[in-house]
Amino acid sequence: MTAELHVIDVGHGNCAVVTGVDWTLMVDAGASAAVIQTIEYLGLDRLDAIAISHRDLDHARGLVPLLSRRDLEIGAIYVGADAAKNPSAPETANLLVALADAKRNGRCLVSRDLDDTFNSETLSGGGVSVEVLAPSFELAMTGPKGKSSTGSTISSNSVSAVLRVTLSNGRRVLLPGDLDGVGLAELLGRGADLSADVLVFPHHGSLSTVADERAFAAEVVEAVGASTVLFSVGRSAKARPTEEVMRGVFDANPKAEIACTQMSSGCLEADAELPDRLAHLTKLPAAGRAGCRSCAGSMTIGDLGIEGPNVATYQEYIGVVAKTPMCRTVRP
């Protein structure tokens, strides 16, 4: 068995499952039944570790149903502290209580220790190497609501863990969570090497907190040098990725391969009629399969690069269904 990284269509949010030899890592657990369905589909009875990039619910809420599955062994959960999250908000309260219960009752290790000083071997295994590139120890220790070394306000997104996963075939995938301008500046300021073949673009391709989305996107893609850029997006009225982000991606790499988990409303209006079936999807569970909201759906990165969806039928699907497919219309 070779190592694979599955990018799961969870709608708006993130979830990646990395499978190696007798070893499994989940990075982020978006709020979708597709998370549990993927565990079942892959026949997993153990997750050696779950790393949550940051505490936004579209990355962490899926922890609760995972913890509820007594037939699923979990080795450890790594999730940073976040003073910007209101513990009286229902979903955050349930997440906090579930984590506290898991830790106190010995369900699994629950650790807040996830920064660039983290021992990478802890998350690595089964032929897969995982590095934690961000947040820096200093940024994590200050935390959301604090100030960065340049005086910027640190948000939950600023302290997103940035993980680089290197599969057994040498292919590298960068999972930056919701990394924002503050986090990126901190990373680039200390000369961090972000290089990877595949980038799951931060914050679902929309960055309202950065002054210039296009410049941010170009900076990220250039720093990573990725040939493939994936967007984990839900189909909603607000277009994700934005056209500006897509332009920035192509500014940095005009030949970048692009795929979105769900059909962006920037490519087909949110209220437009969708087809009644998606023949091109992989068999992996996908939140957008119901209602045919998926574009590429869930994807697997393995020996052959992006394995599925079927490229020919996928390209044909985009040509037929998307009115303004940004991966084509924006490309220079």
Partner: protein, 250 residues
């Protein structure tokens, strides 16, 4: 418990069906729908079954399945139980399949929720206009009786955040957000399901904002399908788990 005197129905044959509803016109409408697809039905005269025991006795002797509305005493003051209580016993204890119907979504939280774990199929009154929905519902219930719950009714231990407490015509209600359930909706249920002491509104109000654990069917598609069992009495205050929270940015 009374011994069944009616032979078990064959697979895909739901046999004789009892219809119970305090709205006789609605009961007749359901009867017509079922007769249209060749199902023999009996509209039960509620005067003959004023108590839960009498109703169960009648059903176990005369029919193979039951279609029952939640409201049995709204238009018929002589009945001392509701449809959810009856179906809970009929399905859970007597192992006779059936479908619970309701014309009022508001009834689900306070009337049906305490029994939903034993009632696999709840449909709206509108859906009773489709006889196939009724027949399929009876069959689905029969399958659960024979084989146990399917994936959408399997329960998992999760936290439930108590969002609100309030008084209703049938007692104190709690609204809770179910951790891990994929939809952002609250589940209403009688406060006494958590503990008898919360029959008192002040006691119930005092636990809003706290979290308890119970086993919930996370595979439920709709709020009306949700139920919980094995609630744990210990309550957790989530604000005590986050020491660095500043309320001003909430």
């Amino acid at each position: 418990m009374t011994v069944l005197s009616v032979a078990p129905a064959e697979p895909h044959d739901i046999g004789v069906v009892a219809v119970l509803d305090d709205d006789v016109g609605q009961a007749k409408a359901v009867e017509f729908q079922l007769q249209d697809v060749g199902v023999e039905t009996i509209v039960v005269n509620l005067d003959e079954v004023p108590t839960l025991d009498r109703a169960i006795d009648w059903i176990t002797h005369k029919v193979n399945a039951v279609i029952c509305d939640v409201q049995l005493s709204h238009l018929h003051s002589g009945v001392s139980y509701n449809g959810a209580e009856l179906m809970s016993s009929v399905i859970g204890d007597c192992k006779i399949p059936g479908v619970l119907t309701t014309g009022f979504k508001d009834d689900v939280g306070m009337w049906v929720r305490p029994h939903r774990h034993r009632i696999p199929v709840l449909i709206s009154r509108d859906e009773t206009e489709e006889p196939e929905v009724l027949v399929d519902g009876v069959e689905a219930c029969r399958v659960e009786i024979a084989k146990g719950r399917g994936p959408d009714r399997e329960t998992h231990r999760v936290p439930l955040y108590i969002e609100k407490a309030g008084i209703t015509e049938v007692g104190v209600a709690l609204d809770a957000r179910v951790g891990g359930w994929s939809r952002k909706a609250s589940m209403r249920f009688p406060a006494v399901m958590l503990d008898e002491r919360y029959a008192d509104l002040d006691a119930a109000l005092a636990i809003t904002g706290q979290v308890f654990f119970a086993r919930v069917n996370l595979g439920a598609q709709h709020e009306t399908d949700l139920f919980f069992e094995d609630p744990e009495p210990e309550l957790v205050d989530p604000t005590e788990l986050s020491l660095h929270f500043d309320a001003e940015i909430a």
